[in-house]
Symmetry: C2
Amino acid sequence: MNILLVHAHPEPQSFCAAMKDAAVEVFRQQGHTVTVSDLYAMRFNPVASAEDFASRANPDYCVYALEQRHAAEHGTLPEDIRTELDKLLACDLLVLTFPLFWFSVPAILKGWFDRVLVSGKIYGGKRFYNRGGLAGKRALVGVTLGGREDMFGESGIHGPLETLLKPLLQGTLGYTGCSVLKPFAGWHIPYITPQARAQVLQAWRARLAGLDAERDFLPMPDLADFGARYNPVPQKG
Amino acid sequence: MNILLVHAHPEPQSFCAAMKDAAVEVFRQQGHTVTVSDLYAMRFNPVASAEDFASRANPDYCVYALEQRHAAEHGTLPEDIRTELDKLLACDLLVLTFPLFWFSVPAILKGWFDRVLVSGKIYGGKRFYNRGGLAGKRALVGVTLGGREDMFGESGIHGPLETLLKPLLQGTLGYTGCSVLKPFAGWHIPYITPQARAQVLQAWRARLAGLDAERDFLPMPDLADFGARYNPVPQKG
């Protein structure tokens, strides 16, 4: 497998970074090719703006997605986006490791989605969910949290983690066509003992070691279930 | 009322910017004080990093929330964060206007949450949801979308918009203590006629004009319902 690991944590010595390093090690031991995008280390620019487009479809009014499409067609995407897009298109498995900030990804990772998931390449028109540009690839989220596990789930104060991660799991990874694996959560990380952390890291390693065989994906909408609007109209004979 | 309007759209002539301008106009006509943070115009830095802290609680290992707390206590928050935090603490109503990017806010706005919602000032320990630091303030989201209204809701392909916005509506605005109003959605904006856009803008203006009286808030968790862990233990007499 060709694996892209996108990592976004401000502290290079963090537990989350240890999860990233463990993933690299486990995957390489299995003979996979691993590419890492460490967004903080790269000082990745997360702000989607008109400045991304040296040559504009419409120089007077920027619709970001339309400019992405234009730039992709004309080979004028900026180099940082093109580099990340090439890594993404080449991978079989996308792994994201990040700490939960405001029940979502850190801004630097949100901006990776905003800028790298290029309209016209990754999605567009009727190409989304099972017809998205990343169809056939798998995706795994590895998230570290301050919260305890009992704060989540149906009876937890915040509700199910997978509901809170829906914009990511479904709205981003599923939308672009990825088959999305159940996320891995490292609970309460800033507050637990080194021994407890070692156990979490061990569970992460075990999960990754068996990942090749995992085919238990989160349910996603299927365009076929949603009528003619999303589906080709059969041609008359 | 003192109103803070945080706006995040890459195109200054966008419909979303027209919603921001309309809000300023309607609120000022009503005699309210309006402050605007136009994040793209300000070139707001959305990346929460150790660089935010000139004086560190722990110079060797950055736990962002703990450094926020330390900096808030010692008056060493960087100026851009302090300025935004002061605006936020001074407001009675927070209004966010943004286009939906990947079923969430643009990264520049996500980073405003990551950096400005300072631990120790806005939340921390048992101060969240109804006990959050912004309790007593109201919040309104005004979002523009490419999607059509029929793509959302219980039978829509993406599911209810309010579920997809849960990390924002509950996990951010509700978590910090705001009373959160039902979001306003401008559907299918890039694809509709100028006449249809004028109608959406008129509906937005009408909503804002009546906002002072709105007390129909989204349901949020109440710490009192979740046991001793979140609540003061009664002292023995």
